[in-house]
Homo-oligomer: 350 residues x 2
DNA sequence: TTGTATGCGTTATCAT
DNA sequence: ATGATAACGCATACAA
């Protein structure tokens, strides 16, 4: 027994055909007579050859079938958010028909030798979000000339973007609250910058994370002076913590809360319950995302429904387009306002 | 302007050195004089060469730095579970020092042409769980001679396994309930088979998912006849649905519930609240996993704490060992019982 | 329909 | 410390 794996040359020899013929049997790019095909396949299975070596094929074809997805924080953190999970599903689905899969890469890791866009055999890169640490990956992709797509972040005009009408959508929700008579409104925001900094937001706070800034602008378009409380990210527990702050002083609490995500809204609602408040009788709460929140039932959140899977799919299609040499389109996806049962009229004066 | 990307040969020519010398400047495998190194680097930057082409390097080295992770269902579904998220983080962390990253692959997808273990340039494969659909990936990995690790599933004695003492741990929790005097106990299980089938479990039900079967055995070691209600998977909402069933009849409800995951337990607790029951006064609930459940506070779950990150890390180390030609170890990780505030003595007779 | 020849971009070996 | 050369395994252009 040899311990070297069989190559297509071995198969060809065994089948008494040329390497190119054997190759064609596997790739199907050229017609092959049935007889030879059978011979080649028989030889292959005799030698335990299961198909071309992907590594050699990638070099030859100039394509590895791998799309690098650069995520900022830990997977645990990223995938806590259902929006991201669905987005990744859409992305995977859209590149799969091209034989491509997703390689997870992290921007910042203290591990020596960790794989990056510079060292991994990727055909294209997808960046999620676009705060400072991602900048590095952006440069890497550019210097290697990799097709690049950015999701909810601005990387310059040459990179296709997959955007959401965050500001318009959030304004719609705010307007809904105003229509219900609310004037005393608080905003609970997503993370505002790469570093974790939660707490009351100064009115001139610099917000480097686009989605947070845009949604805040939408809310402020209607409630210009609404106080905003920043969280460390989209989770129920962060929303709970924020809600506790908002409802701490019974004499001085908002009648409505605009949360920048459904998870945050779920936490705010929980905090309201804790404080003995009924939603929406005592306080109205709006979310953002419109995804099913595990554990939120029986509430039906008033929220903005975004299409996370479509977002991923759009990114995937942009990648696919670039891989085929077509010109990818930037996409602006829109959110739909979905009234639920967590908003209502302003309660009678306390 | 040429539109072909520069290769290391171009760099070598520009720097007036041999290709091998230029290569060594980037790999650092052999000493190079400072002067030539500088010349090469200068030439590289002049030509916009940012390092060896990973595709060519993979062929030459026989290593792509990619570990295929085969997940069964959608990413959304998989990553709903915090245990899986943390596990993946551990896995990524453990292979990163070897320059390796994780490529997500799905077992069953109806997409034509989707990447698989047979077509993707992976150095090794990690299978998560091991029900029927994974079998296929297992064969693929075997036929390509890929190093293979299975997490919480049995793939035969030649494959290193990363296991948890599910049965022992669950027995400990059950014993805890028995010690508190409970005899009327119900079990809420994880998914029992690849297909989704929830509902009361016949006593002779065939359970193909190992973790579910093992935990059930542990519970049955103490409460041999406890009724078991199967769910479609680990989520708060599934637990909520199960809890509603359990607590539907006030005259005939269990005094304790053994949930096979913390998420399920969280849902059961929510159902108890809904039914007007107080935990642990009216009903005790145990979980399994010991991870922070977003949205469960302020409860402190009585649960079994498993080390999900270690589990991933162990898998990653086994992979790394195999890549280096060392003999990987199977690992049996143990869970620790952590009493919380969701279990208590049997309530006075109703 | 089949075969021949070549190159994809590297890196390891060996000699200098 | 540096250079010449071969090989990694495959897929294609082109000839037959």
């Amino acid at each position: 027994m040899t311990n070297r794996r069989a190559t297509i040359a071995d198969v060809a020899r065994e089948a008494a055909v040329s390497p190119s013929t054997a190759s064609v049997v596997f790739s199907g790019k050229t017609p092959v007579s049935d007889a030879t095909r059978r011979r080649v396949l028989a030889a292959a299975s005799a030698l335990g050859y299961v198909g071309p070596d992907p590594r050699a094929a990638s070099l030859r074809l100039g394509r590895s079938g791998i799309v690098g997805v650069v995520v900022g924080a830990s997977l645990n953190h990223l995938f806590l958010d259902p929006v991201q999970r669905l987005m990744m599903d859409g992305l995977a689905e859209a590149v799969a028909p091209f034989g491509a899969g997703l390689l997870l890469l992290r921007t910042h890791t203290d591990v020596e030798n960790a794989p990056t866009l510079l060292t991994a055999p990727v055909d294209a890169a997808v960046l999620i979000g676009c705060d400072a640490p991602l900048r590095e990956s952006l440069d890497a992709a550019r210097s290697r000339g990799l097709p690049l797509v950015v999701i909810e972040g601005d990387a310059g005009s040459d990179v296709p973007q997959i955007l959401l009408d965050n500001r318009d959508a959030q304004r719609t929700a705010a307007q809904h609250l105003r229509d219900l008579g609310h004037t005393d409104v608080a905003i609970v925001t997503l993370r505002t910058r790469a570093e974790i900094t939660s707490g009351w937001l100064p009115s001139d706070a610099e917000i480097t994370i686009d989605v947070t800034r845009e949604r805040l602008e939408g809310a402020r378009d209607v409630f210009a002076d609404a106080p905003a409380l920043a969280t460390a990210g989209s989770s129920i527990d962060e929303g709970l913590a924020a809600g506790r702050v908002l409802f701490a002083d019974p004499a001085n609490r908002p009648t409505a809360v605009i949360a920048q995500s459904d998870l945050l809204a779920a936490g705010v609602i929980r905090a309201a319950e804790e404080a003995g408040l009924t939603v929406p009788l005592d306080v109205s709460v709006t979310g953002f995302d419109g995804i099913p929140v595990d554990g939120l039932s029986p509430y039906e959140l008033t929220t903005l429904v975004q299409p996370p899977t479509d977002k991923g799919r759009a990114a995937g299609e942009a990648v696919a387009a670039m891989l085929e040499g077509r010109v990818p389109a930037s996409v602006l996806l829109t959110c739909a306002f979905r009234p639920g049962r967590t908003t209502g009229p302003v309660p009678a004066r306390r």
